[in-house]
Symmetry: C2
Subunit: 222 residues, 2 copies
DNA sequence: CCTACCGATCGGTAGG
DNA sequence: CCTACCGATCGGTAGG
C-alpha cells in the first residue's frame, strides 16, 4: 500500500465493491499488509521524535530510515516525500488530540472552571506526555508545510480550539477571567505551548502542578 | 576586517598600541572600513529577517547574499560560517535587549506593578516592534547553534530575565500574583513569546493593548 | 523494502 | 567583495 491516501492502517476493501462481495477465498491477511501499517506508524513516530529534537530541515530521510531500522530509500515506499511524512504526522496528531479532548470535555464537570481545568490538563498531556511528539512538531515545524497543507492544519486547529471559546467567554462574564476572552485564549495557549521549551519530564513539576499553577495564575476564583 | 571577533563596527586600534600612539599620518578612513561595518550590519539584518521568516536551515547563504545585494560567496568575507552569522545575530540581539531593558527598568516607577508593566511592554517591543527580528530568531532558531554557542546565549538570557525575578517575587508576596513566581515567570514569558506566532502589526491590537490585557490577565490589582 | 544511483543544491574556498 | 569552482550531502527514483 505505498503512498495510499487512505488514513486507516488497513486498506478499505469497501472501496472496491467487487472484493467486498467475496466473503471467503480472500486471504485472511494480505501479504505485508499489517506490517506495512506498523512500519508506517513506526516511521511517523521516529520521524516525529527526530523532527521535534532537531527540526524538520535538519533531519534527513536517511536519519529517519536509520532510526526505523531501514535503508536509505525505504521511507519513500511509505511516504511520497519528506513533506508528506511531516503532514501525516501533524494531521494524525491533531486528529488524535481533537478526539481525546472531546472525550475529556464530555466527561468533565459542567462548571466553566472545571472544564478549563480539564482542557489545560489535557493540553499539557498532549504537549508533554510520554511519546507525544506530534503536537510539538505541529507547533514548531508547521511552517515547513506547503501553503495548502498549512490551510488544512489551520482548520484542525480551529476545531481543536473551539471548545475553549465558550468556556473562556463564560469565565469572563463571571469575572473570573479579567481580559478579553479572545486575547486571553492566545495568551493562555501561548503560556502552555511554551512549556515545550523548558519542561523536563523528570524535573520537579508534574503536569498536575503545572495545571494548578496555570489555573490560579489566570483565574480569580473566590 | 574579515572574520574579526571584535564586536564594534569599527576596528579597535587601542588593541594595537603602536598604532594608537600615532595621532596623525593615519588615513582618516581606512579603505573599506566603514563600508565593512555597514555591510556586516546589513547582512545581519537581512539574514535575521530571512531566518525569522523561513528558519535557519531553510535559508541558504545564497539567499542571504542576494537579499544583501551581494554575490554568492561574499557573505563569507564577513562571517566565517553561516552558524557564526546566526550567533552574531542572536548575541547582538540579546545584548541590545539587555541594554534597553536596563534603561526601561531604571526609568520606571518603583512599584512592582509598574515595573512589571514596563518589562512586559518592553518585551513586546523587542518581539514585535518594527525591525526587531533578532530576538524572535533567538527564540525559534537558537537550537541551530552549537552547544557552546547555546551556553553563551543561555548566560545572556539569564541576565535578561534577572530583573523579572524580584518583581514577580514582590507581586507574589503582595498577593497580586497567585502562582509560584518561578513558574509564573515561565508562563508569562511563554504567553508573550508566543505572540510572535500570531501577532499582525496591522491587526486590531496594539502593543499597548497587549500589555494592558496581559497585566490584567496575570495580576489581581484592587 | 533493498540496491545502486542521479541531479540538484549547498556551505564553503582559492585566487584575485 | 567577485569569479569560478569543489566536495559533500540530500531528496528522490528505477528496477528488482
Amino acid at each position: 500500500m505505498p503512498h495510499s491516501s487512505v488514513r486507516s492502517p488497513l486498506p478499505s476493501f469497501s472501496a472496491r465493491p467487487e472484493l467486498a462481495k467475496r466473503p471467503r477465498g480472500r486471504p485472511r491477511k494480505l501479504p505485508g499488509t499489517e506490517a506495512e501499517g506498523n512500519r508506517r506508524q513506526e516511521l511517523m513516530q521516529v520521524a516525529a521524535r527526530l523532527f521535534r529534537q532537531r527540526g524538520f530541515d535538519a533531519v534527513t530521510t536517511r536519519d529517519i530510515a536509520a532510526a526505523a531500522g531501514m535503508h536509505s530509500g525505504s521511507p519513500f515506499y511509505h511516504f511520497e516525500t519528506k513533506g508528506v511524512l511531516l503532514f501525516a504526522i501533524i494531521q494524525a496528531g491533531m486528529q488524535a488530540a481533537i478526539a481525546s479532548q472531546e472525550a475529556v470535555v464530555r466527561s468533565a464537570p459542567a462548571a466553566p472552571v472545571d472544564t478549563l481545568r480539564a482542557l489545560v490538563r489535557h493540553h499539557y498531556e498532549v504537549l508533554l506526555g510520554p511519546d507525544s511528539d506530534f503536537i510539538p512538531v505541529m507547533l514548531y515545524e508547521g511552517r515547513c508545510l506547503s501553503t495548502q497543507q498549512q490551510a488544512a492544519i489551520t482548520e484542525l486547529r480551529k476545531t481543536y480550539e473551539a471548545p475553549w471559546v465558550p468556556v473562556l467567554d463564560a469565565l469572563a462574564k463571571d469575572g473570573a477571567l479579567a481580559a478579553d476572552p479572545a486575547l486571553a485564549r492566545l495568551m493562555i495557549l501561548g503560556a502552555l505551548n511554551w512549556s515545550v521549551q523548558w519542561f523536563k519530564p523528570h524535573g520537579p513539576a508534574s503536569l498536575s502542578t503545572l495545571t494548578d499553577q496555570a489555573l490560579s495564575l489566570f483565574l480569580r476564583t473566590p
